[in-house]
Every structure is written in structure tokens, then in C-alpha cells.
């Protein structure tokens, strides 16, 4: 019932921010036929009268006291950064040139 084309997969890859080669896109599209048909079985029993479960614990709005506790120093927080400058993360250009 379900199938995805190479272009469908390319669109999903763009949404997921993953560059993919043409070969990867074609392979994934062919694997998805099998996988989607297998997972679509959930629809056989998922009737309107069944409530969804998003999480095993019935928790909501868990709070702890708002107390200052030791946390990372700027050096520690930046220790894994690919690039940093003046105690900040240095990232590639986000806005266009004119901005």
C-alpha cells in the first residue's frame, strides 16, 4: 500500500537536514517499500476507541525547587565546540550576505 519514490525520500532528507547521494536515496526508497508495509500493520488494530499512549508513566509537569546548583563553566561548556570565540560558540553564516 505504501511506497516512496526517490524524490519523496529526497524531500524527507531535506527536512531532516541530511545531504544524501543519489545512490543512498534510491536504496532507501526501495527499502522503505518493505519497511512501510510491515509497520503499516498497526492500522489493523488502532481503532478510534483506543486512546494513544505517548509515555509509560502518567507524569505531567514535574517540577523541582528552583535552587542554584553548580553548573558548567564557560570553558567546560565550550570544550566540545567545533569552533569558539570570546566565550561563545562560533557558527557558520546563518543569514544571507545582505543581512
Amino acid at each position: 500500500m505504501s511506497s516512496l519514490s526517490r524524490d519523496d525520500v529526497a524531500h524527507l532528507a531535506r527536512l531532516a537536514r541530511i545531504e544524501m547521494t543519489d545512490e543512498e536515496l534510491v536504496n532507501l526508497a526501495s527499502e522503505f517499500d518493505v519497511i512501510l508495509n510491515a509497520v503499516a500493520r498497526v492500522q489493523e488494530v488502532a481503532t478510534a476507541d483506543v486512546a494513544p499512549t505517548s509515555h509509560p508513566l502518567p507524569l505531567r509537569n514535574v517540577f523541582r525547587p528552583d535552587v542554584v546548583a553548580p553548573s558548567l563553566t564557560p570553558e567546560e561548556a565550550l570544550s566540545g565546540a567545533p569552533a569558539s570565540e570570546e566565550n561563545r560558540f562560533k557558527v557558520p553564516q546563518i543569514l544571507g550576505e545582505e543581512a
Binding site: 488494530v45 481503532t47 567545533p82 557558527v91
Partner: protein, 498 residues
């Protein structure tokens, strides 16, 4: 000493027969002699482990009161952060990353005086059932080096089976503790969801992920369970209630009058003959020990695998969005004029392996508008039905049991090009994660046709984890009486005499 249980090592430490430094050194020597073949470890922290061992020895000689596992070495799955120690989650995305903080599990291990030897191999971001998806090469099963050690926590399980460590930490999203335990002849427990903190556990599927203890005996597993479990304010899904009395249960092993429910749907077609026969024999042993064996039916379990492969990829597509090449981890293509988006796209192409990409794309699809109700929404409903099946079954039985996996360890490479066949490995372990209850796997013998370990799974209701330890201890004792020596004594000898 390395082939003893952690409990026996602990007695030797307390009795002054050996120091923690000596015990740690013996394990480091063992790793040096066998890990080129097994490849259980991604990083060995010899210096840190010996320093930690020396401080425990010093505390002991000062007469300080120490916990039951103080001075015992442990192998840590590379998905848990440990301050200053390389943590990769089996991915190129995190190659060389040294976390600036300890996970709560590591904090608890350190305060229990447990010595962390190093980080163990795993399927990338815990996605897999064979450890073949590690970006750093597969781990080999000590029972047969051409076979998989299970996954995702294959490194932790193989380290135990190869006597490289008596204790290990795993994480279990759909069976990643229990399936590796089953195929390596070791013990592994997925505690009740929320029983052990997830703070510092690199997230795969947050509503399913659970860290837990791995060892070679039920008692050692219980001792480690108690050391790492408990409420953590840093994990909002951590349960604020006393830890179940798992050590007491593992010491008792009294199953007289307990009702053990055999799940009809988790047996039969698709299960290897030798797996079924060892499972049936174990049921007879439990009946002899005084338990009552009943059959229960969980008709919606047949949809669990399908629901899992929608829920886990959906949550992973969201969780792994954090790997954006900006704050930590890999960054590729950051040349002058390159946009953040192109850097992100290139980095995620190069940093993620095939299975991780497959699941991110599947999750992105399942969550996209127009398909959400049909896929993710329906999977959430199946989750409700599975939980209801468990609730009903637990009105007829105190624990439920099944084989842990349909087959024994398969060959490396055998299923790596067939994702669906690979996913079927987890058919008996996934329902436990969907409902958030507890699950244990312990070895119940070798399959006659291939002489490889078979796992016996015990499932207990939420926050009744002690029940699986009661049954596990009873079965372990009965099997040991039959075998005369632990199952692992039948594994091939590695690394010469020790």
C-alpha cells in the same frame, strides 16, 4: 580471580586476599590479551581505573565503610557520559568528544566505589541488534568470534562473557540489554522505566530508553541494579519511590506459590528448536522449585514490532536533531561562505551511518503531516493495547516468561543487508519497553543444534522488579545444580591460561 563473580571478588577484597588495584590490573591484562579478538571496548581508561582502585584500597585500609561493590571493575556502554572520557555512542558524529559532565549512572557508580575500566562498543546511537552498526567496527561473540554479540549493547555483554569485566552497564530501548545477554550467556536487566536515571544517557527514543545492570550472575546484577537505581531530580521521568528490594530477592530465590505466566504469542513459529527446548526445560525446573506455570495470551503483541519501528524512529528523528554541528561533535564543510544549513547537511551525511539515517528518515516520514495519524498515532494506540495485554496477563500471573530471542547468535554479516530480518530479533523483548515494565534475560543452556547460549526472559510489572530477580535466582540455582558449573565455563578458552 577474573572468572569469579563480583560478589566473590567483593569477599576477596574485604578479606584482604587481593587489592582493588590488583583486581583492576588483572582485568586490564585480560583486556590487553583478548580484546584484539573480541573488540568489546572502544576506549580503555587504564590510568583512571587504577587511580580509582587505589583510592578505594586506601579507603579500605583506613577502615571506611564501603559498599558491596566497592573496588570491583565495570565496563560502561559508550552511550553514557563520563566526564573527560571519550564518549562516542558508536558514532563518527561524536568521535573525540569528551563530555564535560558525568551521567547520573556514572555519579552513582563512582559513589559506590565501582571502578570504571572503559567504554564499550555498541550499535551507533543504540540502533541495532548486532553491534555491526558501530562506526568503529563490530564486536565479536566470545562463544564464536564469527558471530554477533547482540546489540545494541554487544560490547558490554561480550566484555562479561570474555571475562574482561565482571559488571557492565547497558541501555535497553527495545532489547539492547536483554538480547546481547541472551546470545552471550550472560545476565541483563532492563529495570522498570524511570527506575534508573536517564540523565547523561545519549537519547535514542526517550519514552523507551532505560539504563540497566549487566553481569554474569543474578546476584551481581541485583547488586549493580541497587547501586545505580533511584530517583534523580535531573531526570523528570525518574520515579520518586523506593528502589525495589532486588538484592534481597536475588539472595532468596524462593518461588514457592508464585504464578509464572508463559506468553503464548512469544513462542512457537519462528523460534529455533533448541531455543524452545531449553525454554521448556527451564519451565520444568521452575515448577519443581515450587512455582505454578500457567499460560497467558497477549494477542496484541504481534503488533508490537510494527509499533516499535514507528515510535522509536519518530522519537529518534527528533532526538538526533541535536547533532547540528554547532555546539559539539563533528563539523564538516565549514569553509568561508558556507551556510550553517549546508554545514549541517554535510555533517549529518558524513557523521551518521546507514541505519541511523534510515531511522531518521522513517521517523521524519511517520511524523509528517498527513501521515501522523496513520503511522505514529496508530503506533501509540498499539502501545495502549500492549499495556492492556500486560495488565490483564498480570492478573493471572506474578511474572511472565518467554525465550529472550527467537534464535541464538547469528553470523556477522548474515542480516546486515536485510533490515526487517534484523528487526525480528527483538520480537520478544520489545513489548516490555512499550509498557515500561521490567525485563530480565538469563542464560538457560546451549541450543543442542549449534552449542550457543539461549536466553530466558522474565517480565515483571512496573516497580515490581524484585519479582524477576526471585524467579531468575531460582532458575539460576536449579540450572547450576544441573550443570555443576556456570554456563560460561563451557565457552571456548581465550587468551591462554589466566
Amino acid at each position: 580471580m577474573i572468572k569469579k563473580s563480583a560478589h566473590e571478588m567483593s569477599q576477596a577484597l574485604a578479606g584482604g586476599e587481593i587489592t582493588s588495584v590488583q583486581l583492576t590490573q588483572q582485568h586490564l591484562n585480560r583486556i590487553a590479551s583478548v580484546d584484539t579478538d573480541v573488540h568489546a571496548f572502544l576506549h580503555v581508561d587504564a590510568e583512571g581505573a587504577l587511580a580509582q582502585a587505589a583510592s578505594i584500597d586506601a579507603a579500605r585500609s583506613r577502615g571506611e565503610k564501603l559498599g558491596p561493590l566497592a573496588g570491583i571493575p565495570l565496563a560502561l556502554k559508550d552511550v553514557m557520559t563520563q566526564k573527560g572520557i571519550p564518549t562516542t555512542a558508536g558514532s563518527k558524529m561524536l568521535e573525540g568528544w569528551r563530555p564535560p559532565y558525568d551521567s547520573t549512572v556514572v555519579t552513582n557508580l563512582k559513589s559506590a566505589g565501582i571502578v570504571i575500566l572503559g567504554k564499550t562498543n555498541m550499535d551507533e546511537f543504540a540502533m541495532g541488534s548486532s553491534t555491526e552498526n558501530s562506526a568503529y567496527g563490530p564486536t565479536h561473540n566470545p562463544w564464536d568470534l564469527s558471530r554477533i554479540p547482540g546489540g545494541s549493547g554487544g560490547g558490554s555483554a561480550a566484555a562479561l562473557a570474555a571475562f574482561e569485566a565482571p559488571l557492565a552497564i547497558g541501555t535497553d530501548t527495545g532489547g539492547s540489554i536483554r538480547q546481547p545477554a541472551a546470545v552471550t550467556g550472560t545476565v541483563g536487566v532492563k529495570p522498570t522505566y524511570g527506575g534508573v536515571s536517564r540523565y547523561g544517557l545519549i537519547a535514542f527514543s526517550s519514552s523507551l530508553d532505560q539504563a540497566g545492570p549487566c553481569a554474569r550472575t543474578v546476584l551481581d546484577t541485583a547488586l549493580l541494579h541497587e547501586a545505580i537505581a533511584g530517583h534523580d531530580p535531573r531526570d523528570s521521568t525518574s520515579i520518586n519511590a523506593p528502589v525495589p528490594a532486588v538484592v534481597q530477592a536475588a539472595k532468596s530465590g524462593d518461588v514457592k506459590g508464585m504464578k509464572i505466566g508463559v506468553v503464548k504469542e512469544l513462542n512457537g513459529d519462528g523460534y529455533q528448536a533448541g531455543v524452545r527446548s531449553r525454554f521448556e526445560e527451564s519451565l520444568e525446573l521452575l515448577a519443581k522449585a515450587g512455582a505454578e506455570i500457567v499460560e497467558v495470551s497477549c494477542p496484541n503483541f504481534e503488533y508490537a514490532l510494527a509499533a516499535y519501528y514507528l515510535i522509536a524512529p519518530s522519537e529518534c528523528s527528533s532526538n538526533l536533531a541535536r547533532f547540528d554541528a554547532m555546539r559539539y561533535g563533528l563539523r564538516v564543510g565549514d569553509e568561508s561562505g558556507a551556510s550553517a544549513e549546508s554545514v549541517m547537511n554535510l555533517t549529518r551525511d558524513i557523521g551518521f551511518g546507514r541505519e541511523v539515517k534510515r531511522r531518521i528518515i522513517l521517523g521524519t516520514y511517520a511524523l509528517s503531516s498527513g501521515y501522523y495519524d496513520a503511522y505514529y498515532g496508530s503506533a501509540q494506540k498499539v502501545r495502549t493495547l500492549i499495556t492492556q495485554d500486560f495488565e490483564k496477563a498480570f492478573t493471572h500471573a506474578d511474572v511472565l516468561v518467554s525465550p529472550t530471542c527467537p534464535t541464538t547468535a547469528f553470523k556477522i554479516g548474515e542480516k546486515s543487508n536485510d533490515p526487517l530480518a534484523m528487526y525480528l530479533n527483538d520480537i520478544a523483548t520489545i513489548p516490555v519497553n512499550m509498557a515500561g515494565i521490567g525485563g530480565m534475560s538469563l542464560p538457560c543452556g546451549l541450543a543442542p543444534e549449534d552449542s550457543l547460549p539461549v536466553g530466558f526472559q522474565i517480565m515483571s510489572p512496573a516497580m515490581q522488579d524484585q519479582r524477576m530477580y526471585l524467579v531468575g535466582a531460582a532458575l539460576e540455582a536449579a540450572l547450576l545444580a544441573q550443570w555443576g558449573a556456570p554456563l560460561l565455563s563451557q565457552a571456548p578458552v581465550m587468551g591462554g591460561a589466566q
